[in-house]
């Protein structure tokens, strides 16, 4: 699958950017909620370091995942759909071949 050679129209770029930003915001909102809820229950130092470990992992994961490059966008969208930060419906307007590739990848992940 030579995703690096896929072309993106102006409309597709707009749809992609919007979907990408929406997924990011959802994951961030969820993270903020998790942190604030978790922090309320902290009563010993082990729980503080567990929160630290969780944030270290999340930061690494989010930094790696939300890298907006057209060469990897098919994979990024498949992952975001797989993780339920994005619905495949929100990518409507991308050409059928791209959507088929994303759907196929979702099942493989």
């Amino acid at each position: 699958m030579q995703v690096s050679e896929i072309q993106w129209s102006k409309t597709e770029k707009e749809i992609s950017r919007s979907a990408f930003d929406r997924a990011y915001q959802r994951e961030i909102d969820s993270l903020i909620q998790t942190v604030t809820e978790t922090a309320k229950t902290i009563s010993d130092i082990d729980q503080v370091w567990q929160l630290h470990d969780f944030l270290s992992a999340k930061r690494h994961e989010i930094d790696g995942k939300y890298d907006y490059q057209y060469s990897s966008l098919i994979f990024v969208f498949a992952r975001l759909v797989r993780e339920q930060w994005l619905s495949i419906d929100e990518l409507e307007g991308l050409e059928a071949e791209k959507l088929a590739k994303i759907s196929a990848l979702v099942k493989m992940l």
Copy 2:
């Protein structure tokens, strides 16, 4: 100052351990309070990463500081007094020479 050659009596060891543990608990309690208070005010992702940075620094600092070894205890106590996690009065019962060394170091830190 050859602190590595200082001898500690059984009573002094008990006083030291107790003071050390008390300072640790105070710093930990303060950290837990800071984390829970800070988490309440988080509303964007930058603040999440600021909390992560803060915890990374604190973990490193606390891991390094609370190393209970008699060869470095004079320095550890001086630092804890300087940072106000411990009062010099709580070390009462250590021999005068040790207390004088700790007090001298507090002024140098």
